[in-house]
Amino acid sequence: MNKELIKQRIKKVVAEVLKIDESEVSDDANFIFDLGADSMQSMLLIAAFEEEFDIEMDVGKAQEIQTIGGSVDFISEYL
């Protein structure tokens, strides 16, 4: 799967979990600082990414990823 496609799917998931419009999710957005995710929503994002891509991520490492770009690189490693 190419990275552009992964990014689009990540943005869609983020918008759903954080209940915001997908257009607000920029390529370099930080989940907490730019999109206002709280700690619970950060956990929900990890679960939603796992479901979306049908993967099982290292939760500890996944929690350190805070941006759309970082998530694309991280999830790519599992695909």
Binding site: L18, I20, N30, I32, F33, D34, L35, G36, D38, S39, E64, Q66
Partner: protein
Amino acid sequence: MNKRDELHRKNLHTVFHPESIAIIGANKVKGTVPGDIFLNILQAGFQGIIYPVSPREKAISGVKAYKYAIDIPDEVDLGVIVFPSSVCRLALEQCGQKGIKSVIIISAGFREVGENGMARENELLEIAEKYGISFIGPNCLGVINTDPAVRLNASFARKFPADGNIAFLSQSGALCTAVLDYAQAKNIGFSKFVSFGNKADVSEIDLLYYLMDDPVTKVILLYLEEITDGLGLMKAAREVIMKSGKPVLVMKSGRTEEGASAAASHTGSLAGKDEICDAAFKQAGIIRCDNIEQMFNIAIAFVYQPMPESNRVAIITNAGGPGVLTTDAAIREGLQLARFNEETTLSLKRSLPTTANINNPVDVIGDARADRYVAAISAVFKDDNVDGVFVILTPQSMTDIDSIAKEIVHVASQFDKPIYTSFMGQADVASGITILEHNNIPHYILPESMCKPFNTVFKIKQFMLDQQHEVQVSGHPPNNAVKKYIDRALAKGKTYLNEYDASHILEAYRLPVAEKILVTSAKDAGKMAAGIGFPVVMKVISDDIIHKFDVGGVVLNISTEAEAEEAFRNISESVGERVPGAIIKGIQVSRQITHGMEVIIGVKKDPSFGPVIMFGFGGIYVEIFRDVSFRVAPVDRQNALKMIRETKSSELLTGVRGARQRDIDAIADSIVKLSALAVDFPQIRELDINPLIVLEKGEGCFVADARIILEDNC
């Protein structure tokens, strides 16, 4: 003062007196730190403008919110960051871009959580440096300024305290909330209330300097868990006390010992972190408190009442027992019971019933009402022999508690002497206590508790009078020969300097080292001993042997050439057997001082306070009684003499039971020289002169044995 310190002083004013605040990371959720901090600022009645900054909210509690700090159209004085630690750097960066120079970082998850947190904290420091920002925290409860013109509660404490003249600074946020609750119950107000958490940028030292010039603050209370810059703290506290007359009370946790057993010298094992801390605080005039109650007991005495001229107190009570208990406590504390003059005695006689005790402690008898208390208090206040008054009340059926409290307030206002009170009990006396507390009359639940605060205030006054001069370092450059000697030793990886090597260094600093010669044959030992003059002592010199006595490496009381030759052979044989691999440099022959008194002086380098000087008595006094005193270097003659006098055994030097006085001046002289050596050479980790043998007055003292331990990280 470096540039960063100057910056902090400027920026700290804005921390406490902002005209506008951005709460960065605020949210609407009550019961969360970001939610409660925003509400606290709002509900405390902050007199400036508030800008919530939230990535998602359009408004919080009706106040328009901004997505980013840089979106705020106006200037902002103070940023309060409440984002999770992982994005605090982004928030601080935006503060810099926005021109916000004063910041409080509430968020946890930094140095206190380990390596990753430390890295995050360092990032914050880099950003602060880049933009000229000063920040308090991270990992803190926040900041409160009760000034009615400001009313700032940038914290997540449950309460906004009453205004007052006490500043409270704490490294622990949780303790802050407990203190606020405690103080509210006792009607104690605060000027500033600061939780400074990890003190990554702004430290307690910066806050002390700021509060020195704060017109509202009269006393500074500080809770510390770690001292990172001991010398800086001492300097700041001393400056605050001497320049502004504001006492500094510190509660420092971690009194238990650690690491002392691993020390390689006597001084090292005796100078634990807490002993050094105690000595340093005392030197700087810092009052060390053991718990919150003691701290506030002393603080209210400072804040509410004038300082006593001297330590003579009058006790007025309506109950004999508590009067006696308080008398005992006063004497134990070192106070004096005032002896009334004739006029006072007559006045008390006229106004009190015949059954009353008109001597100190004055017993106005159990049925006393306000008039008797007023008469007694007024009479003793007027007495020149009285420097302060303790009033005790127990609630009998006829005791008009509230009236007595009001009269105490009234009478106290007419005199410039301190008055402390103890209305004993709890429920019946509660309203009377409230009257006293609301009118700045210190109240203590137990009457004995009045004594320590009184004596502490008196001692601080004495300290201020005594400490007009500041100890100066000699100003001479470090001795070049010693420098070469130490550099050479360290270059060879040698960190232990035996007695022979140590003697060269001590001699260079003119410490009185007993004459000694190193010999390598029995024949030489005999000859040299005769040259020095009998009796002599002979000791093995080897870098591999620290405890010479334990391996038969020392022979005392040698009084002939033949004995010296024999001693040489015995030492060589014994050491050869017990420490087979040891490299022996020779055997030292030195004069044996037979009629001296043994004391110890030494140095231990503390990571926070630098070189610390120790003085103690030899033998069992140091081994069992730990009868020692400490000073942070540099130590001048005056302080050296105080160090000697502080030890419990110091009377032995002044000549007890017909013994002649010892040369105390010579000890003081040696302490001062040792201090200069320790200051000049931070490579000295530990140094023991054990024993220093003290002769009779005028005859001096001699270094009989010494060792030095060096470190190579200076």
